[in-house]
């Protein structure tokens, strides 16, 4: 019987929260032997930071071809939305990208451009990544002979597809959650979830054993009216919170409240004792979120965390209208926040152990609808960290011409690299042995490689 099935059956047979807890405890023990191979000793630290760009970031206006023929194709497709060649910030990769040509960065991203171009660069770009079930050509797509993920071009569905490996569209575990299920026992601290979100609920971090913990941009929120100055009220509140409830929704509410209160004390105590970082973060949505990630990493020792996965998010990328000005603002925010975060990891001496990557449900059409673009498919993505083989463009930059070989039909560019490959490359660095990749990414064997090369060896 598969482990997941067993858990399902165990839970279905469970009537009360007390039983649920004891089952989960037994499962954890049973599971320990299975993952003991991944247990790490010593003081090493590894974290992943998923930067989710909600709405579908237009990667094709984030990194733009600058060689004349390719720029002309881009300009013809994008029309009024084409960024002027002279404004693009030139990229100087150490190795020519597949297919050759030169590229420039959106003018709103000077800091990341500089990170990319520097020696020992911590920044890589992976070209034209998107959700796929199998490698697929334009002819195969148009003939419908090769399956594609369900509900392409839909925000909600492709957000799921990016965050959870394709084969399991029915269940709600993300690949960050699956990684956490493999590694959570590495941490001495078994109370705080290995997966922490600063941007609320997401599928990426949901696992079987590991349920993500949500923290605010300024720290954990306490329940004000049950502090120790009123022990009698506190006792009643806790009695009501911790009673055995007959309804699963009641148990869920109680368990979120319990976890919230337990972790709040632990996290805020650790943050109170923090030696403040010198790195200054931009006071933006993403800047504040990444600052909190940096602060939590900064207190990793008192929190006794060695393996963590963080989730931050920024909305506003669904640029159906006003794309040129709106996307420039979003990318500038991304630029400032990511650059500050990288500087903070260097300051803390954990840059080799922290890998940050972007995700976004889809890119955008190369065709335009006036002053915006529609939902596309493949897009370019950023990977950043001291263990990233930076200053390179990985994957295959696509042909952006209207009706060209990569144009699915209406300007949606068919991905040449699957999300599974992108994610698996990161997962291998994180410590998943190649032989175990299939348990996290069931479809990975369908693609030519599970290592795109942008990460240093684990």
């Amino acid at each position: 019987m598969k482990r997941r099935d067993f858990i399902q059956r165990a839970l279905c047979a469970t009537a009360s929260s007390a039983l649920f807890t004891s089952f989960a405890g037994k499962l954890s023990l049973a599971h320990a032997s299975a993952v003991s191979g991944h247990r790490l000793l010593g003081s090493d630290y590894r974290a992943l930071v998923c930067v989710y760009l909600y709405g579908g970031n237009d990667g094709f206006n984030m990194m733009v071809p600058t060689s004349s023929a390719q720029y002309a194709q881009y300009q013809a497709s994008r029309g009024a939305l084409a960024l002027p060649l002279a404004e693009l910030l030139s990229l100087n990769p150490s190795v020519a990208p597949t297919g050759g040509g030169s590229f420039g960065m959106n003018p709103a991203m000077p800091l990341l451009r500089n990170l990319f171009n520097q020696a020992q660069s911590p920044l890589a770009i992976t070209a034209n990544v998107g959700p796929l079930l199998y490698p697929i050509s334009k002819a195969e797509y148009q003939a419908g002979t090769v399956p594609v993920p369900a509900q392409l071009f839909s925000h909600s569905d492709q957000t799921l597809t990016w965050q959870q490996p394709n084969a399991d569209a029915i269940d709600r575990r993300g690949w960050g959650g699956r990684l956490a299920d493999m590694f959570y026992q590495t941490n001495v601290n078994q109370q705080l979830s290995m997966n922490v979100s600063i941007d609320g609920e997401n599928v990426f971090q949901a696992g079987d054993q590991v349920i993500p913990y949500f923290v605010g941009q300024d720290g954990a929120q306490s329940v004000d009216f049950v502090q120790t100055w009123n022990p009698e009220r506190r006792a009643v509140f806790l009695a009501l919170r911790d009673a055995a409830y007959g309804n699963a929704l009641q148990r869920q509410y109680a368990s979120v409240m319990r976890r919230s209160m337990d972790n709040e004390v632990m996290i805020n105590e650790a943050l109170d004792g923090e030696t403040a970082l010198g790195t200054v973060f931009p006071d933006t949505q993403l800047g504040r979120q990444l600052r909190m990630v940096a602060r939590l990493i900064n207190v990793r020792s008192p929190l006794q965390m060695q393996r963590q996965i963080f989730f931050v998010g920024l909305g506003g990328f669904d640029t159906h209208d006003n794309q040129l000005s709106d996307q420039a603002e979003q990318l500038a925010e991304l630029d400032g926040a990511l650059a500050a975060f990288y500087a903070a990891t260097v300051e803390m001496g954990v840059d080799d152990g922290v890998t940050t990557f972007t995700a976004s449900e889809f890119g955008r059409t190369t065709s335009v609808n006036g002053d915006g673009t529609d939902h596309g498919w493949g897009s370019h993505h950023l990977v950043m960290g001291g263990s990233v083989n930076g200053r390179r463009i990985y994957g295959t930059p696509p042909d952006l011409s209207a009706g060209g070989p990569d144009d699915a039909d209406w300007g949606q560019i068919i991905p040449t690299t699957s999300v599974d490959q992108y994610a698996a490359t990161i997962a291998r660095w994180y410590g998943v042995p190649p032989g175990d990749l299939g348990t996290v990414f069931p479809n990975i064997g369908r693609f030519a490689t599970s290592d795109l090369g942008f990460m240093a060896p684990a």
Partner: protein, 574 residues
């Protein structure tokens, strides 16, 4: 924990019989035709009002008991609609600056005090379906226009869904939010295609959803996989349909020149006069020269579809194409279970049985007079279904998490929360409640209808949409926010200003000398008598420990209300 019998003994000291296991009330009513449909107890009345209004009050429980469900529903249907836009216009006329906070004031005023509670509650449910949000820069500067959009939902709450869909589609607010406004026909030389945004979301979120449904809302599969409702060709077809719509009454020479389309000279302007612009309040108008007329358009295909193979042949006008397309959507078999599921989840329970969805969907499909899409009849079917009117067992996992916003409306309706100056300056509650009317983060609402929290609920296959906004942070903020409303913001507390919204603890304190009576009062008012004996006894024991003095009695009230509103049993309404 004391036994249920102990609790029953406490009850006999009260005027009214209360325990749900005691059916004397029910027996007494047998044979009285005028109330044959119930409610047969205060608890049943309170439970119904929890589903049908922004929260029961003692007066409304008594009224519902005296007239019965049918008369109450008929009364609600006959009440004139309370509109939100006039509130903003009155503020503007009085010289106040009108921003989105004025719109939120109007929402609170109506939620807490409007007599047409059912209409307002359904309008709120519709605002979580036909989503627009002031978090979008395209519409945030236009509060009066957004209030007017909300009024479309208020007016449409008991109307026909086909009309509502058309009103929403042609609203400049929706037009700007999902970019159908100024959407134009293709220009292939310039690689310009019609915007797909509205085409996609009207199908995915407002009507048919992504996968084919059976009449009871279960998913149709083929080879184990859900069958998609439409594909990219369909989206393109609708994207072409929804072209050529611009401000009403734009002056047009020779059918409309590009600069007129773009700037609407001497017609509507966005700036510098945001929010007051009359053009935002009337439906968009068609410009034929910008409509993609000539192309054939692939629309939805389904059994019995009127258009052959769902194909709308080219040559139509912007208006005729739009009518045909909305008819094509509206008559898709998915719409009935899709809307039924939404309304049930917003009003009654997160995990309805397929049979319940099927019964409500059948009423949507045909109200008994051969009319499809009658929302008034559909709402009635949602509320009067046996699955809604029967208190479910705990083990069935029926019920729903209360939306944080509705916890606060409930508090203020129960304890007469209001400010001396009559306004409800409860602005931007998303900061601590993760919700505020027409202020969701995206068109996907505050939460998805099929969201399942990881862990036990996911393993059991239980949806809990509201849990999507119940994070470790927000669960504490909601508890803190509600606590502040009852521990600090009460009438008579020092330093109260005319604009402070305060609850009236006076009538509550009068009862608080007897903690049993007090908790019983709240068991009815807040929990339609579903409070467990354990919770009841725990609260009573605690309240008895607080002194029976003026201050102590007030603290009994405050603690009782807050401990209830932050408890697992209250937070999941059953």
């Amino acid at each position: 924990m004391k036994s249920g019998l102990w609790r029953f003994a406490l009850m006999v000291t009260l005027l009214c019989p209360t325990s749900q296991v005691w059916a004397g009330d029910h027996v007494f009513d047998a044979g009285f035709d005028h109330r044959a449909e119930g409610p047969y107890s205060d608890a049943e009345a309170a439970r119904f009002l929890t589903q049908a209004t922004f929260g029961p009050s003692r007066a409304e429980i008594a009224r519902l008991r005296s007239i019965g469900y049918n008369a109450w529903l008929a009364d609600q249907a006959s009440l004139p609609a309370s509109h939100h836009r006039p509130y903003l216009e009155a503020q503007a006329a009085a010289g106040l600056e009108v921003y989105q906070n004025s719109r939120q004031e109007a929402w609170w005023l109506h939620a807490v005090t409007a007599p047409d509670q059912l209409r307002q509650r359904v309008a709120f449910a519709l605002s979580e379906l036909l989503v627009v949000s002031d978090q979008s820069g395209a519409i945030e500067g236009y509060p009066i226009a957004m209030a007017n959009y909300y009024d479309l939902l208020v007016d449409g709450a008991f109307g026909n869904y086909r009309n509502l869909l058309e009103n929403v589609t042609l609203s400049p607010v929706m037009g700007h939010y999902l970019s159908m406004f100024k959407n134009r026909k293709p220009d292939l030389d310039a690689n310009i295609r019609p915007d797909e945004n509205y085409a996609r979301e009207i199908m995915q979120l407002f009507s048919v959803g992504l996968v084919r449904l059976n009449a009871n809302g279960t998913v149709q599969t083929s080879g184990g996989q859900p069958i998609p409702t439409y594909d990219q060709d369909t989206i393109r077809g609708f994207a072409h349909v929804f072209t050529g719509w611009n401000w009403a009454n734009c002056p047009r020479d020779q059918g409309g020149q590009w600069w007129e389309w773009e700037y609407c000279p001497s017609g509507p302007v966005d700036w510098p006069d945001p929010g007051w612009d009359a053009w935002w309040l009337v439906p968009m108008e068609a410009w034929e020269s910008y409509h993609a007329s000539e192309e054939d358009k692939q629309l939805l295909v389904y059994p019995g579809v009127a258009l052959p193979n769902g194909m709308l042949t080219g040559g139509g006008t912007a208006a005729s194409d739009l009518q045909a397309a909305l008819d094509n959507i509206f008559n898709h078999p998915n719409v009935a279970p899709f809307i039924a599921r939404h309304l049930i989840k917003r009003l009654v329970t997160s995990n309805p049985s397929p049979a319940y969805i099927g019964r409500v969907a059948a009423v949507f499909a045909n109200n008994g007079l051969g009319v499809r899409g009658d929302l008034g009849a559909t709402v009635r079917a949602v509320l009067m279904d046996s699955e809604a009117r029967t208190l479910p067992s705990l083990a069935s996992n029926a019920g729903k998490m209360r939306e944080p916003l509705l916890k606060l409306t409930h508090l203020w309706r129960a304890l007469d929360g209001r400010a001396d100056d009559g306004r409800y300056r409860e602005w931007y509650t998303d900061y601590y409640l993760s919700q505020a009317a027409l202020r969701s983060p995206t068109v996907f609402n505050f939460f998805l209808p099929d969201y399942r929290p990881p862990g036990e609920m996911a393993a059991l296959g239980l949806d809990g949409p509201e849990f999507q906004i119940t994070t470790d942070t927000s669960i504490a903020s909601v508890a803190n926010g509600l606590g502040a409303k009852v521990f600090y913001d009460w009438r008579g507390n020092g330093g109260q200003q005319p604009e402070d919204i305060v609850v009236d603890l006076g009538p509550e304190v009068a009862v608080a000398s007897d903690p049993v009576k007090l908790v019983d009062r709240y068991d009815l008012l807040f929990m339609n008598r579903t409070m467990s004996d354990f919770m009841f006894n725990t609260l009573v024991t605690y309240l008895q420990s607080l002194p029976n003095t003026n201050t102590g009695r007030r603290q009994r009230v405050q603690n009782a209300v807050w401990l209830i509103q932050s408890s697992p049993e209250y937070s999941i309404e059953r």
